[in-house]
Structure formats: C-alpha cells, structure tokens
C-alpha cells in the first residue's frame, strides 16, 4: 500500500491548483482522477475570464484569479494560451439596459472596475458589435484561456513539482481510522493519506457520500459551439446583460459561443446530448451581437457538466466531523477564480489564517 501526505480526489483546476500550491510548499501530494487530468469541465469550458458574468460576491476572488491567469508562465506553465481582452457586456432592449446598469452597479460595489458606456464608445472599442445596442458595460479586466490546453498545462506543472498523478483511478471507498484515510480504488489498489481533498466537480455529491456527507449538487449540462477558423471579426470578449452569452474569437480564428445554454446530460453514464432549440437560441444571440458571425460555419458543438449548489455559491473548506478533510468545488464561473480558490484552500491547509466562512459546507447540513 502506497502512502502520501495529501490525496486529492479530482484532477480539475480546483484540485490541481490546490495540489500545486501544497506541493510547492513541500508536501507530498497525489492527485487522483477517474479519467484524465482536466478532462471534465476544466478542459471543455469556454475559457472566459470575465467580471461581467461573475457572481457579485465572488468578484474579489475572480479578480485575483484573473491576475493569476494573466501570468501563468510564473506559477503554472507556458503550455497554455491566455489573452487579455477588453470586455463588453451588451444590452439590446430597454429592459436589458436597466438590468445591465443595475447588475454592473452591484458588481462594481464588490470591486469590479465596470463602467456603463454609450453606443459610440462601445463601437470605438469594438466596431464589430451590433449598432442597435442601447448601451454597454465596459471592463478592462477580461480575456480568455484556450481551455482545451488546461490538462497539458496542469499535468506538466504538477509533474514538475513532483505531484504524483493517478489517472483512470476510480475511488470506490474511503476508510478513516487512526487519523488516516485509506482510499480504495475500483481496481483493488489502495492509497493511505494523512489529508484528503475532495475536488470532483460535478461528481462531488457522490464523492461526499463516501464520507457520509449528504448535500445536493446540481449538474448543469452546458452547450458550447465553435466556428471554423475565419478572418478577424471581433476584438473583445462579448457578454450580455442577463449573463447568457460569452463570445470571443481565438488567435487561430475560431469563434467560441458559450453562455450556459442548457443541453441534456447526466453524470451517471456521462451522457450528453445537445438541445437543438437551445443551440439555435445561443447562435442567434451570438449573431445578433456580432452580425458578421452569421457568415461562418459551425464546426463543432459539445457539452460540459457544471456543478452548482442550491445557493449557486461554492463549497470550500473543512469537511465537518473529520480531521484534515477538505472540499473545493461548485464555484460559479469557476474557471476564472479556480486557481485562486485552490491557492486559498492550500494556504489554509498550510496553517495560514484564511477566512473561507462564505463557502462553508455547513450551511447545507
């Protein structure tokens, strides 16, 4: 039986960022994934790093996360493309204008540097946007990551920091006695750890049950659409007032349409299926925002499973009734703030005085 200081179940950006920080501080870390590193939501999400879609209370964390993403070569790896872009959040109707002003005001209160601008100013920032908008919200702190490279980047960084990675290891049981955790895998192998961290994303409900913790985690199957490569048709990250669109063009020319339009999917058999009417709605909204997009062809559609708690706020911190057991997950717009959240949890585990009370899992128990 092998031993490790910290066993992290779930190799997405939450588990990966926590593990990386712990390993950099000298702990012996093992990351376990039932599939491959960052092949769930962490690898298939839209990669948007925007304040316009972040939940107001999470703005301070998203800002820190954004800064980390902007300098990945220092703490993560050079193997990932990150671009800083201006962010424009558009309102097409009077109702949306009201909503946008109200939401931007609250986000600003929580620290986002968002300002409401006129059509003219918005068009100066990106002349490609629909000229029939009522107004826009502008934020310089925006951009995107090529999320498909997440796995490569994390995998490389973790290995360089001597984190042991167990891929295709599915956990069937966690035993706890004498202050030690014994993780038993479906293949019969075992791993002993002094601390454990559960970071299984959309599977957290099931994983927490292994420690007799019963909370509800919703599974949101989100659709994503990508175009073929095309000439430059936009230069900003575009979002809309109600938060249901994210749109950007990558360096290679492909345009990614996201925004969390639901498809069909479940965790049990990892099945996902698109909902054509929602694809159409999402595409229409995108083409309405950037009219030239309509001349492109859709190359691929896929789905990612997002985890959400009942109050749509994260669960991060200690697991009650256990020593040295932690959870991290269900972070709304989690790709932006994930690296920072992971760092915070690691610092807490290392004994720093970090306040995570906002994310305490106890609120659901």
């Amino acid at each position: 039986m092998t031993e490790t200081d910290v066993a992290i179940i779930g190799g997405g950006i939450n588990g990966g960022s926590t593990g990386l920080e712990l390993a950099k501080n000298g702990l012996n870390v093992t990351i376990i994934d039932k599939n491959f590193i960052c092949r769930g939501a962490s690898g298939v999400n839209a990669g948007t790093l925007t304040m316009h879609m972040t939940r107001a209370q999470l703005i301070p964390y998203a800002k820190k996360g954004w800064e980390l993403w902007m300098n990945t070569s220092e703490w993560l790896s050079k193997e990932i493309d990150v671009e800083k872009k201006n962010g424009l959040c558009l309102a097409f109707t009077e109702d949306e204008e009201k909503l946008l002003i109200e939401r931007s005001k609250i986000r600003k209160y929580y620290g986002a540097d968002i300002s409401i601008i006129s059509i003219k100013e918005a068009q100066r920032i990106d002349p490609n946007i629909n000229s029939s908008i009522k107004c826009a919200a502008f934020c310089e702190m925006d951009g995107y990551v090529s999320a498909n490279q997440t796995g490569n980047a994390y995998s490389k960084a973790l290995k360089e920091n001597k984190v042991k990675i167990l891929e295709n290891y599915d956990v069937s049981k966690i035993d706890y006695h004498k202050n030690k955790y014994v993780i038993i895998f479906k293949n019969g192998e075992k791993l002993t750890a002094s601390s454990i961290i559960l970071a299984t994303g959309v599977n957290l409900e099931k994983t927490l049950k292994l420690l007799q913790i019963n909370i509800k985690i919703k599974c949101l199957p989100q659709q994503l659409i990508v175009s073929e490569r095309m000439p430059k048709i936009m230069d900003t990250v575009i979002t809309v007032a109600n938060g249901k669109l994210s749109l950007k063009q990558f360096k290679n020319g492909t345009v990614l349409i996201g925004g969390g339009w639901p498809g069909i999917g479940n965790i049990e058999d990892n099945y996902t299926e698109t909902k054509p009417e929602n694809l159409i709605g999402n595409m229409m909204l995108a083409c309405h925002a950037i009219p030239r997009l309509k001349s492109s062809r859709v190359a691929r559609v896929w789905l990612g499973l997002e985890a959400e708690t009942d109050d749509a706020m994260p669960i991060i911190g200690e697991i009650p009734n256990y020593e040295n057991a932690y959870v991290i997950g269900s972070i709304h717009s989690g790709y932006t703030s994930g690296p920072y959240m992971g760092k915070l949890l690691a610092e807490k585990i290392l004994g720093k005085d970090i306040d995570l009370s906002l994310f305490d899992i106890k609120r659901f128990l």
């Binding site: 491959f36 092949r39 690898g43 879609m53 939940r55 107001a56 193997e79 097409f92 109707t93 909503l99 939401r103 609250i106 498909n148 490279q149 796995g151 490569n152 995998s155 490389k156 290995k159 990675i165 891929e167 990508v226 175009s227 073929e228 490569r229 109600n242 938060g243 249901k244 290679n252 969390g260 339009w261 639901p262 099945y271 299926e273 698109t274 054509p276 009417e277 929602n278 159409i280 709605g281 595409m283 229409m284 909204l285 083409c287 309405h288 997009l293 309509k294 001349s295 492109s296 062809r297 859709v298 190359a299 691929r300 559609v301 896929w302 749509a312 709304h332």
Partner: protein, 475 residues
C-alpha cells in the same frame, strides 16, 4: 425559423443512397414501411456509382458505373420511396431525430428506426508535402474519372496501395492520361499471394486482371514496396521522392498530379454520435460500429448497411443492405421468423464468400510499419489545424495517452473534418511510438455537427424578440 420540423414520423430513415442504402430502402418499402432515404449527393449511387452532375448533358460514352447508378434510381422511383437528395446530415439524436441541411435551410425528420449506409471515406497516410496543390486522394480521383469523365492532369503519379491503384490506372489510360509511376507499398509477392483469395470473386477478379493487363501493356513503371517520401512544387510540376522501404533506395521523378490512397475508412460519425459501441478491426478498416451477425448495432433500432461496419466492397454492399433491412423488418415483427431465416440464410452464405475476397483486399491495403516510421517529423498530420507529427509526439511525451487527450492538447481533429482524415494516421503514429495496441488509444468522441453547418442556413432571418428566452444567470 430556419429549422423546418417535419412532423411526419417515418418508420425508417436510410442515411446514404449508395448500393446498400438503396437495397435496404427498397426492401423496407416493399413491406409497406414509410421510408425516407437521405443523401448529400444529388442522386443515388454513393461514391462507387456516383452520378455525373445533372448539367453534364454532353457525356456521350456511359461507363458501366453510370448504368448501375441509373438502375438504383429507377428502383427508388419504382417503389415511390421518399427521397431527400442534396441534404447533408449534421446531427442525429436518439429517438430518432435526423437533422440535415440543404442549399437554403435545415430540416428535422423523425423515425422509429435508422439504417446507416454512409459508407467510407479514404485513408491517406501523410507524407511531407501531401498538402500542396496537385496532391489528391486516390478515391477522389476515381470520382473525378467516373462521375466527371476527365483526368486531373495529363501526367499523373498513382500511389498508395490496394486494387484502387489498378482501377484508377486503368481509367487514366482509358481517358488518355500518362501515368509516370505507380508507387505501391505492397510487393509483387503480396499481390500474387492474395490473388488466390481474390479469385473467389471471379467477376471482380476478371476486372482486376483486365486492369493489370492494361498497366503492363502500357509499360507503366511500377515501384513496389515503395512510398512517396516527399513532394514539392517545382517549375515543371511536382517533384517527388520515391523511397523503396525494403532496399532504402530513393528515386526522384517529376509529374503533375499525385493521386494517393491507402484504402478506405468506415464512416462512424453517426454511430459515435449515438454513443454506440465501437471496436477496432484493422482488417475491416479501423474503428467500426460493433454489430451482430445480422447488422444490429448496440443501439436499439440502429442498423448498419454497406461498408460502415466493416469494408467488404461494392458487390457485398447491396446484400448487406438486404440483411440489415431484413433484420429491421424482423425486429419490427413485419416478417416472420421463417421468412427472416429464409432471407438471411442465402445472404449470409454469400457474404461469407465475399469475406474471403475482402480480407485479401484489406491485406493489400494494410499499412506497413515502415511507412509510419518514415513520416518526417515536420509533416502535417491534421491538415485542418496544421498539427505536425512532432507536435503529436510532443503531447505524447508530455503524458497524453489517448486520442481525445491528444486532441485536447494539440487541437488535432478539432477542425471541420472532425478527425476523419487524421485520426487513423495519428493513432498509428502514436501506437507505433509508444509500442501500444492501437485500440488502447480509443477513438475521437462523436461531436455534432457531423459536417460544418452554415450558420445562415440554420438561423435564417430572425427578430431579436423571437430568440428563445432562457433564465438569467444568478447575480
């Protein structure tokens, strides 16, 4: 709304109007089923009997293939089968809902069962320079010849392997072209060895002899055990380097076009989308949908006709169509056990005979290890995304261990062809490099749309107010 929903529910939708699609559609229609046959081409025939464009009025000499195509179309008309030609299927979902687009819009049909007769596409092992203009697929070349009745250029090099080399050579000579070389990865001994098995199908064998004889009479240089290692544009045309894989000797020649192909790959786009089980069978063309002896896939109500579940060639295609459709009729309790047994007994016997033939063909189409090793590191493997062999191997060095992980790290297979062209070669390269069994690498997850969908056709003209409303994201 530019998606037209056709609420009429069909008993069966047949996707693909090649010989197997047509025979299965006719078999179902004969028993009174409501059938729709869909194809992206303008008529029946598939790739093998592709019809000349409707506008080609002056084609005087009809080829044998063109006659067979006419017969297929007549069958469809005779049984009044509904057709949707010029429709490209881009999404199939359980239930079954089939979405396709044509020149103006996209349409959705529904059916109880599906017969997938989408055939194959061609397999090309890349070499340095395969993406320059003037390099085309061997199967693409047969389409130019058979459906358009012309040769891509006066001077041509044919390369790759298998009987298609000989067929194309025959037609090129027939249409007055000059073949500068035939570059075959197989040896002459491979051909002689397989000829005994090929004889089990006398009709095709006779054709083969006719082709080879023509090549011999025209003194066309044949390079056996050889591959094209490199090609680049020069003032006179294309300069190419032929490498003998056995002796290591190289020879440079100049020509105008290269037609290259290493066999065919069964199309699994729809079955992968439906999350059917797939198995790897090198002899049958690589990854194929798993079917039982009666061509049922692992998804209830989905049947495979033709080469989609393993290559057995044009002659077997219509029989496989009959088999798949008879199984469907039996499963739907339209024909009795007795009738089913009677129908299938004869077909299965015939198919067993074809099997010997098709195994011999696939042997000639096998990919020698050496040509994979011989691919230069700078060679582009995924041409949609410009991913080279060395970029693939770099991802492997960094720990990628399955094809979807390689896709995610390198963008291989993320372009408009969705990996149809590169998956086979990329998997071979990685399996070779890691000394892995190729099936351990898995296959690319099926993703919609199967073919790129023009947004304007899906969306049409719309008003902002008409866009579906979804719940706002939480603040």
């Amino acid at each position: 709304m530019a998606i037209l929903i056709n609420n009429r529910k069909y008993d069966v939708i047949v996707i693909g109007a090649g010989p197997s699609g047509v025979s299965s559609a006719v078999n179902c229609a004969k028993k009174g089923l409501k059938v729709l046959i869909v194809d992206l081409n303008s008529n029946t025939g598939g790739q093998i009997y592709r019809a000349p464009p409707k506008t080609y009025k002056s084609i005087s000499k009809k080829l044998k293939e063109n006659e067979i195509q006419k017969q297929l179309s007549n069958e469809i008309k005779k049984f009044k089968i509904e057709t949707a030609y010029n429709h490209t299927v881009w999404q199939v979902s359980p239930g079954f809902k089939v979405n396709a687009f044509n020149e103006t819009s996209t349409i959705q049909w529904q059916s109880k069962s599906l017969i997938i007769a989408t055939g194959t596409y061609e397999k090309i092992i890349p070499f340095e320079g395969w993406t320059i203009p003037g390099v085309i697929g061997l199967a693409a070349c047969t389409i130019i010849l058979k459906a358009h009745h012309f040769i891509p250029s006066k001077k041509i090099v044919l390369a790759g392997n298998g009987p298609l080399l000989m067929l194309v050579a025959y037609y090129v000579i027939q249409f007055g072209g000059k073949i500068d070389a035939i570059v075959d990865t197989s040896s002459k001994i491979d051909w002689i060895k397989s000829s005994f098995s090929l004889m089990t199908n006398p009709k095709n064998f006779r054709d083969g002899i006719k082709w080879v004889f023509k090549i011999f009479l025209n003194r066309i240089p044949v390079y056996s055990n050889s591959t094209i290692e490199k090609a680049f544009e020069v003032d006179e045309g294309i300069k190419l380097k032929i490498r003998n894989l056995k002796t290591g000797k190289a020879k440079n020649i100049i020509s105008e076009t290269i037609a290259i192909g290493h066999g065919l790959i069964p199309s699994t786009d729809i079955t992968r989308l439906l999350r059917a089980e797939h198995i790897y069978d090198e002899q049958k063309g690589g990854w194929i949908a798993k079917v039982d002896r009666f061509l049922r896939s692992s998804v209830r109500g989905v049947y495979l006709a033709g080469d989609g579940a393993g290559i057995s060639g044009a002659l077997a295609a219509s029989d496989k169509g009959l088999l798949a459709s008879s199984t469907l009729l039996y499963d739907e309790k339209i024909i009795s056990q007795k009738e089913f047994d009677q129908n299938t007994y004869k077909i299965l016997k015939k198919l067993d005979k074809y099997e010997v033939f098709s195994k011999a063909i696939s042997k000639l189409n096998s990919t020698p290890k050496k040509i994979i090793e011989n691919i230069d590191n700078g060679t582009v493997i995924c041409r949609c995304e410009d991913i080279t062999k060395s970029e693939i191997l770099r991802a492997v060095d960094q720990g990628a261990r399955d094809i979807n992980q390689i896709k995610s790290w390198t963008r291989l297979g993320m372009g408009p062809c969705q990996g149809r062209t590169c998956q086979y070669a990329a998997s071979k390269i990685v399996a070779e490099y890691l000394n892995y069994e190729i099936d351990n690498l898995g296959y690319l997850t099926g993703r919609s749309p199967i073919r790129p969908v023009p947004l304007d056709r899906v969306l049409g003209d719309f008003d902002y107010e008409k866009i579906t409303k979804v719940e706002a994201a939480p603040l």
